[in-house]
């Protein structure tokens, strides 16, 4: 169907507005229904570009054996239904070991009984600059740990009378369904943070880190998830995997005990992820605590549970809210205060880094900030179209979009590098003309309006662009009006 991201958000929000009434109606009318969500419909084992009410039942019965009044209809209020078997999920902790202090590495908590998981990403407390690691509560605290305990890498810290070997930080806060929420508070996060050593007076050693996730690259803050998002994670068990979010308001029941002595906790508003080919699973035991990122390397979820090929994660927005934190961003000025790679020194081969540096440049002027807002309002949709819409994807590749971006990135790193006028017979302007056309026709109304308003300005900038440093000069000297897009008297052809 090729929905843009904005369209998916709009459709999802419309259905969520109906969900409470639909859930009450279905659970009152049909036996064996455990929960109802809004998500992507699955047929023949594949996720479709179609939203549905996902109805989780204890047991899927043969329709021929049911009476008409026992059969869940194929459609409710005009929305398709998808009946799925309800699962109990397990927490995922394992014992293997590997690499240095990045996101995606193995860690363990003091007093957790040897269970290990994954360091998700790095965060700061709201209003503070001290760096913490973020992972699951059950990875570093669990049933027997506590705030104030140490966190170790690659294993849980071995504490003897004289030192705590291998420790990298101290737990400062955590919240999980089993232990912390006050009565009546919905269970929505399984998360904990630990402050890295070296940031307080008296600390013996400084823990070095880099605001990156192995195999994924720099992290750029956080964002809200939406069904249909293609996401990635790096965990200490299954390493790098890719999946698709199909539900973001899932109500899973998670077993925090054992099969013989289960402790079932039901969560609400959780993300569910299904693996994309060629990955048979998105996660496995030991990946608990992994940060789940979208295509812009923004964290959207904190993985904590799974069953078979399904993975469950907290929405990062709720983790942020509950713990009072902010996910660190490599692209925002003023962050990364401690032992981290400075934003300017980040590997420049990654296109997301180029965008971050462009944003840094533009933030310095009012007009630049205006342009940033235009980009922010539309970039998710544009990237979704480039990735998911066939016509846009073909145009982008045929007109050498990736190659031109590669040259822009190299020019940002090496100003003496010339951006070629054309590649394989296509000029940068050919690319811009084609992309303005396909984006206008395949995007949302808002995107079409933006293209109409800013296309000529974009063409003019491309004509005069010499590098990242010229961006603000272009905006000041070659002032553009979004309605007319013309350059002023300093332009090349207004002599």
């Amino acid at each position: 169907m090729g929905w843009s991201r904005q369209e998916r958000i709009e459709i999802h929000d419309r259905l969520v507005a109906m969900l409470d009434d639909v859930r009450k109606e279905i659970m009152a009318k049909y036996k064996g229904v455990k929960s109802v969500d809004v998500g992507l419909k699955e047929t023949e084992g594949k996720l479709r570009q179609q939203f549905a009410f996902i109805i989780h039942v204890e047991e899927k019965k043969d329709p021929n054996a049911l009476k008409p009044e026992e059969t869940i209809p194929k459609e409710i209020r005009g929305v398709p239904t998808d009946v799925q078997v309800y699962r109990i999920y397990t927490i995922q902790v394992d014992t293997s070991a590997y690499s240095p202090l990045w996101g995606g590495i193995q860690i363990g908590g003091q007093g957790t009984g040897g269970g290990l998981g994954t360091l998700g990403c790095f965060v700061t407390l709201t209003g503070d600059t001290k760096v913490h690691l973020l992972t699951n509560h059950h990875v570093i605290i669990g049933m027997n740990g506590a705030v104030g305990n140490l966190v170790g890498h690659p294993d849980a810290p071995s504490v003897c009378c004289c030192c705590a070997c291998g420790d990298i930080g101290k737990i400062t806060a955590g919240q999980v369904g089993v232990v912390t929420p006050p009565v009546g508070t919905p269970n929505i996060v399984d998360a904990a943070i630990a402050i890295l050593h070296g940031q307080n007076a008296g600390d013996d050693e400084e823990t070095r880190f880099t605001n990156k996730i192995i195999n994924i690259g720099p992290v750029f803050g956080s964002a809200a998830p939406i069904p249909g998002d293609i996401v990635r994670k790096r965990g200490r068990t299954t390493h790098f995997t890719e999946g698709t979010i199909d539900i973001i308001n899932h109500s899973p029941t998670v077993n925090y005990g054992t099969e013989d002595n289960p402790i079932h906790i039901t969560y609400v508003n959780q993300i569910r992820v299904k693996p994309n080919a060629p990955y048979p699973r998105f996660s496995a035991p030991g990946d608990s605590g992994s940060a789940i990122v979208n295509n812009l390397n923004q964290v959207v979820g904190l993985h904590f549970s799974g069953s078979g090929d399904l993975s469950i994660a907290n929405r990062i927005t709720q983790v942020i809210d509950r713990l009072g934190i902010a996910v660190m961003s490599s692209g925002t000025a003023g962050t990364i205060p401690l032992s981290a790679v400075e934003a300017d020194a980040l590997p420049h081969a990654h296109p997301v880094t180029f965008l971050a540096r462009m944003e840094q440049q533009l933030q310095r002027t009012e007009k630049g900030k205006e342009l940033i807002q235009v980009i922010r309002d539309n970039r998710h949709e544009v990237l979704d179209l480039i990735n998911d819409n066939r016509e846009v994807k073909v145009a982008w590749n045929r007109y050498q979009g990736p190659s031109f971006v590669g040259h822009l990135i190299k020019n940002a790193r090496e100003p003496e590098h010339q951006i070629p006028r054309d590649i394989n017979g296509y000029s940068f302007h050919n690319l811009l003309i084609k992309m303005s056309d396909v984006l206008e026709r395949n995007g949302s109304r808002q995107l079409a309006r933006t293209v109409e308003d800013y296309a000529l300005a974009a063409f003019n900038f491309a004509e005069a662009y010499t590098g990242l440093d010229s961006l603000n000069n272009l905006l000041e000297q070659h002032a553009f009006c979004p309605n007319c897009g013309t350059l002023n008297k300093n332009s090349a052809y207004a002599r």
Binding site: R421, D422, I433, D437, G485, A492, Y493, R495
Partner: protein, 138 residues
């Protein structure tokens, strides 16, 4: 109301380096563009859907009557939108040479369409530039 014949304007145009350059480009591609507009379905649809014939009539009239101005918008379609969409469909369906020319000169043409209200004003712009246009110069 003074009437100008297009031939008079053409004489003025080719008196300048940029004017001669534009005339040469026009002669190189006009047949191909006309063929595409008349015989290529994709090009034909874009041309008519974006009111190409209406705009071209106004443009020609603006060359014949000095005080006549081309409307910026007709029935919700802007002139620059027509030109941008035609550039996209012509570069997609035309020869590599046409695509190259569109890539090199589209910015120039779009800016004229935005800044000028008539062919006379475009020709005045051309006369001011005492040099050929080289794509990519600042």
């Amino acid at each position: 109301m003074k009437m100008y014949r297009l031939e008079v304007l053409e004489e003025q145009l080719v008196a300048t380096p940029l004017g001669r350059q534009i005339r040469d480009i026009f002669e190189e591609h006009v047949e191909e563009v006309m063929m595409l507009i008349n015989h290529n379905r994709q090009v034909m649809v874009i041309w008519h859907r974006n009111l190409g014939p209406e705009f071209i009539n106004h443009a020609v009239r603006s060359g014949m009557e000095k005080d006549f101005e081309v409307p910026r918008e007709i029935k919700g379609i802007q002139l620059t939108t027509l030109l941008r969409r035609m550039a996209a469909v012509l570069q997609e369906n035309g020869s590599p040479a046409l695509a190259r020319t569109i890539g090199n000169y589209s910015v120039l043409v779009l800016n004229w369409a935005q800044r000028c209200n008539s062919l006379h004003q475009v020709f005045d712009e051309i006369k001011k530039i005492n040099a050929e246009f080289t794509p990519g110069t600042k």
